[in-house]
């Protein structure tokens, strides 16, 4: 395969939805064996571009050259025939079928087959798995796999179809950093075999780490496109957001002298974690990190009464509290923002205002336990304004908001209660750079107002940006407390991996 001739050239692509330009004269070139990142915030047009190149959406203008053909618009079948495969965020796998069948079935369909022989499925699947040297159980059902293995299955399926360009939409969102590292190794081996990969991402670190070339989209236009070596972190952030964002560590240290809001002593839950001892002082943001399965989430869930701890004591403002249920935790002043904001945190079809007050109804009722609507409206409005949620009206359903704004509504719901201690699990997963910055800024502001904040995360830059102190959890125990100069990317990663 010649190294210079591009595999795919998209030129002057434009697409309007209603009166809004989703894409405006966008061009993109993908060469063999390269990793090309399309970076941009939510709503910048990344997804629309992928959909056009995979043939799902027809562009208003522009041409796509792939192989030797030039298309005004591709059909999905033509795109697949030309070796373009898209791995969507949900992977589009069949949870009820085996890994082998998931990998092989599309190529059987493409060859117009009518019958299926299990040994043949396994042969096709094994060939692909051996080609990229991964370890997957061919007979496992996809629903029993980890997220990382599902992603591998999706990659293998693309390769089974002789993919020459693989588009991956936000491939690392649901992975732990260890799994991300494994993914990057596979990506490197794919490159060597001449396959081009196009990553769509808004995570600065991985964009810089993995790609040879970067194209940045903002508001449907290409802002800049070039060799990855020409970019550094601030330049990329500026290109994506169009503004300068400071990424300074919090330095206010007066919290050290204050009495703790939360004291946790010897907390344990059989099989998950034990001997967990720490405190949180007003005005402090405490980080808790660890690998998936280390117990970091279970500690938070125990504090919030989802899975109550068996041993240990918890004190809030010096008073011992017993947390055996979520209700106990809420009464003691805890708030919890779960990791899966879409399924656990929101009523998607209800209005924004109703979602905001949903967690504090007991504070908003008057006589006869009836809701005091005017107070509720005021609380909702104040909190939403505080968080700068972009919305047409607080009566619109939450579903109509973008991911980042939905995240803020979840936060608003907890802030409406004014909790004494707010626990956030991976607060900025799936949130673009700009919104992420604002959310972290807001957490810092709340901590300055005296709220105790615990951030559970495995996103190291996020921890560094917002936390005064970071606890590292490994195999259910706190193995390190990092603070001040000891709190760096390197120390966190060393402790995680040790």
């Amino acid at each position: 395969m010649s190294g210079d001739h591009p595999l795919l050239v998209a030129q002057g692509i434009s697409k309007h939805f209603g009166g809004v330009a989703a894409l405006d004269d966008v061009s993109l070139e993908v060469r063999p064996g390269e990793v090309h990142c399309i970076a941009g915030e939510n709503g910048s047009g990344k997804s629309t571009l992928i959909k056009i190149i995979s043939g799902v959406v027809t562009p208003d203008a522009g041409v796509i050259e792939v192989g030797c053909e030039t298309y005004r618009h591709l059909t999905p079948r033509q795109a697949i025939g030309a070796g373009i495969e898209v791995i969507f965020q949900d992977f589009s796998l069949f949870p009820n079928l085996t890994v082998a069948e998931n990998i092989a079935v599309s190529s059987l369909i493409a060859h117009g087959r009518r019958t299926v022989r299990p040994p043949e499925l396994r042969r096709i699947a094994r060939a692909v798995i051996e080609r990229i040297g991964v370890d997957l159980d061919l007979d496992a059902r996809v629903e029993d796999l980890s997220v990382a293995d599902r992603q591998l299955t999706a990659i293998c399926r693309a390769l089974a179809q002789d993919a020459r360009i693989i588009f991956m939409d936000e491939p690392t969102t649901a992975l732990t950093w260890r799994e991300v590292r494994a993914l990057f190794q596979i990506v490197a081996s794919l490159r060597e075999s001449g396959v081009a990969l196009v990553f769509v991402s808004h995570k600065i670190e991985e964009v810089l780490r993995i790609s040879q070339r970067i194209t940045v989209l903002r508001n449907g236009k290409v802002v800049v496109s070039g060799e990855a070596a020409e970019f550094d972190r601030p330049a990329l952030i500026r290109a994506m957001t169009g503004r300068m964002l400071s990424e300074r560590r919090p330095s206010d240290t007066n919290w050290r002298e204050m009495p703790p809001i939360l004291e946790v002593q010897g907390l344990g839950l059989g099989g998950y974690f034990e001997g967990v001892t720490f405190d949180v002082r007003p005005g402090e943001v405490l980080g808790v990190t660890g690998l998936l399965g280390s117990g970091r989430t279970e500690i938070a869930e125990a504090l919030f009464g989802v899975r109550p701890a068996d041993t240990g004591t918890v004190r809030v403002n010096g008073q011992p509290v017993v947390v055996n249920s979520v209700r106990d935790a809420v009464r003691a002043g805890f708030g919890y923002v779960p990791a899966d904001r879409l399924s656990e945190g929101l009523f998607l079809d209800q209005s924004i205002a109703r979602n905001v007050i949903a967690g504090s109804l007991d504070l908003l009722v008057g006589r006869l336990n009836l809701l005091r609507q005017s107070v509720a409206d005021r609380v909702a409005q104040t909190t939403l304004t505080d968080l700068r949620v972009k919305m047409s009206s607080s009566r619109a359903p939450v579903r109509s908001l973008s991911g980042g704004n939905q995240q803020r509504v979840v936060l608003a719901k907890w802030l409406a209660r004014s909790p004494r201690i707010l626990i956030l699990n991976s607060p900025t997963v799936g949130v673009d750079v700009g919104s992420k910055h604002e959310i972290l800024e807001m957490l810092r502001a709340k901590s300055r107002e005296g709220m105790g904040i615990i951030v559970i995360s495995d996103d190291v830059p996020e921890l560094l940006e917002v936390c005064h102190r970071v606890l590292v959890v490994r195999r259910g125990r706190i193995v390190a407390e990092l603070t001040g100069d000891g709190l760096t990317e390197k120390t966190i990663l060393d402790e995680l991996a040790a």
């Binding site: 589009s92 069949f94 949870p95 599309s106 369909i109 009518r114 399965g293 280390s294």
Partner: protein, 349 residues
Amino acid sequence: MSTVPSAARRLRISRLRGSNNEGVLVVAIAVLATVVGLVSPSFWSVATLLNVGTNSLENAVFAMAVLIVMVSGGIDVSFMAIGIFAGYSVIVLGNATGIAADSAWLGFMIAIAIGLALGLLNAFAIAVLRLPTLIATLGTQTIIRGVMLAFIGRKVIPDYPPGLESLSTTYLFTDYAAIATRLNVMIVPSIVICIVVSLMLRYTLVGRGIFAIGGDAESARRAGFPVTRLRVLIYLMAGALAATAGMMHVTQVRLANPYELVGGELDVIAAVVLGGASIFGGKGSVSGTVLGVVLIALINYSLILLGVPGAWQRAAVGALLLIGVSAQALSAAGRHRRGTIVQAEEAAA
């Protein structure tokens, strides 16, 4: 840690249980047979086998229709209406025109044609209009039954065209020890149909497509399955199977009663669910389904044998349906928990 041996044990147990609860059903059938046999020794007779076989041969074919739809993620409650519509219409038509006078084959072919036409009605509502399957088939069930009672007839017909009459008295086995206990030869096509459906589901791209749609319809579309065409095919197949089963029923009872079958959907749906088919789609097997049909036939027969009033039979079937669904929910929860632990162990390793 003790997790390793227990994981191995879990694996062995799950293998015994079968991917669709087949093992559990075999055990349940054995336990039931033992208990009923102890209470009522007359259970141990050829008559029991023939009775259960007679009851199962048509329900197994109905169950194939329900299974195909359920694996694709839908639920069909119109199959009994299609069955009796087809069966009753063939008898009326045969008597009026003499068309299926000498050939039972032709009677069945006409029934299947009617089943395909009615299946097309379901297919249109579900694949084209995209209505939820339960509501769509509730609607078609009522329409089909209403049309039959209004236009085809309301009378119970004891006279059959000669071809069907002779099929209805062609027995594979007769137990002379018990009065009127025989097994109709139609058990043979019933078994053949089950085998064919099983092969179709397992070894054809259409069958795998049905599983794929049940797993995730949008993914099936992206993988290149012709989802709409498959859905149409699913309801056509279900219609044809239901009509065949209805024809078998009408032939066996030798009394064409348009008020029969509709209302008895639960027996078949419960059998399919007990047989491991997921009400959320994507899971199910013919072997499990057939065992479920046999279990329900056995329970109904045992309750009669023990002199339990008919109302209790209905209660028993309802309870079995709940047990089947609960078993699915519990095993899904168990798998989720195991997944978490395995991940935790991997991360700790």
